[in-house]
Symmetry: C2
Subunit: 336 residues, 2 copies
Amino acid sequence: MATTPGAATILDVAREAGVSRQTVTRALNGMADISDATRERVLEAARRLHYRPNRAAQALVRGSGVAVGFLVENLSNPYYSEMASALTRTAAERGWNVVLCDLGDDEAGSRSRIEALLPRVDALVLTGCREGTVGLIPLEDLRGGLLGIPTVMLDGTPHPAVDALVEVDHAGGVRAAVDHLVAHGRRRIGLVASDQLPGAPRHAAYRDRLDALGLHRDARSEVAAPETYRGGTDAVELLLTAAPDLDAVLVYNDVMAAGVLKGLARRGVAVPDQVAVIGCDGLEIGGLLSPELTTLDLDKTAFARHAVDALDALLRTGRPPATARVPLTLTVRASA
Amino acid sequence: MATTPGAATILDVAREAGVSRQTVTRALNGMADISDATRERVLEAARRLHYRPNRAAQALVRGSGVAVGFLVENLSNPYYSEMASALTRTAAERGWNVVLCDLGDDEAGSRSRIEALLPRVDALVLTGCREGTVGLIPLEDLRGGLLGIPTVMLDGTPHPAVDALVEVDHAGGVRAAVDHLVAHGRRRIGLVASDQLPGAPRHAAYRDRLDALGLHRDARSEVAAPETYRGGTDAVELLLTAAPDLDAVLVYNDVMAAGVLKGLARRGVAVPDQVAVIGCDGLEIGGLLSPELTTLDLDKTAFARHAVDALDALLRTGRPPATARVPLTLTVRASA
DNA sequence: GTGAAAGCGCTAACAG
DNA sequence: CTGTTAGCGCTTTCAC
């Protein structure tokens, strides 16, 4: 347990019960070769002293499983919680545990949470890190900055502290979305982008695909906004004002898309009749919205599996595996 | 690290670098009193051997912080993820870590996940456990079933394996909801209840309050359903058929309420004009729905804080504190 | 600046 | 059935 100084140890229990420490172990672990009377006496003593075994000592001698730290910005965001769910389940297949670290906005708090996490874990999975979040990890504190703990990032940009990336096929996904819209007669496709740097690949893919198809494209039909519900509602106001002739909107993620649907409803714009909407991530909330959200579905289990595989390789060999890439598949529901 | 048999130890590094093991510690931990040349040689050796410090050994000698295991049924459900968020943040205030365990439906898998979790944690927080989930915890394996690890349950029923409960003021919440509906002219209030036993308190509170106010109440205006979105959509079908004159529905939780809103929309029932809807839990998704959901808001941070306080007391004294109770406060949005 | 000793709390392998 | 002897891998004294 939490190595509370002054806590009772197995020796205290042995003394209290008047037996050897091995007998205490036997009694406490329900092993054979001990008389009921002795066992009861030992357990009684343990209870009296409020004894709890020291986890670290047990782990040292028994061997401990792998613990993965999962760093997220905001676990209340369903994207992160669905990822956390996928990661814990995938990790569990290997007998690994996941230690959660929900950073939040506050930088000082984040730093201290990360510091409390690091001594606890064998590896790190990073996701959705804003500019700067990775910087919070005290590289210098990790073995002198020279032997960091294995770290993979989900869908981010390379960083010296990160050993491996799991990529997302933004280009393929955006292409599928745009092509779907075009196939259904849409010609003026707007974009609600992320105002965070990691959002850039999707933004670029959107421009590329529109240009490739020879569709009209201009700056007024693109808006960058915070990656939140509110960001979506606000963005749609700007977009409709700047480019009232849009007949479709591609949205950076499903949470923002929920906001976009709300914003469109407020303005009395019918979805999908007047404007089609496609989100991204394939979150379960997409099915709760009205109309139900068409989205680029990210296979979170595959994503998690690649991350765990990469960590496994790093832990085992110290070398990262080839970068894996996860597809985005269009899931057509009602909004487009 | 994960005590991989055959992994390099500090002694291997010392041998490789031709120094003593303390020198290795000093080099690796960036301590003073070591020449740059030696440090570099040690680090080089460590890298060559792919050395990683053994976490358990470090924890044993440095002392480890408290790790809390958090058991949930399905982390993709936003109720659980918002609770997980609140719990990790609250735990972090004390420097504690949270190890996540997402059980899922599969009983065998759940059991093995719990077994992988237990040796890792000092305490357990249980929430939303179906009938039987608690039974998965191998009481017998825990120190002979006599010294379990401290366990608190969030809003459940007493169980021998559970040391402390944090309760929710269902009665007060339901009362506030019913009274709000009545104050706004509603007289025929139906209920979408949970088909799980832990849902009983809200169900009873609903009946009590209706009776106390002398409102009409009959079995046809109560439906029990699974605690899911789908459960909500299905329930509303049954309810509208059995009791078409309802002018309000109280729903067991917000996820189900999302389904209820969807079901009502499908049947062309206007909310709140024809039927008012009130959910429960105060989830963020409530704000994404159309109309936005009126709900009984549970203060998840307070909930988590009580849980952590209880664990702290259990860890420190072995005795549970007085049972705490968290209120449900009515948050009025558009649906009622 | 570096090395040698001691011990964290526990369990596994032998003795008796 | 119970006790004794060795470590697990690391850090912290303390010598040199």
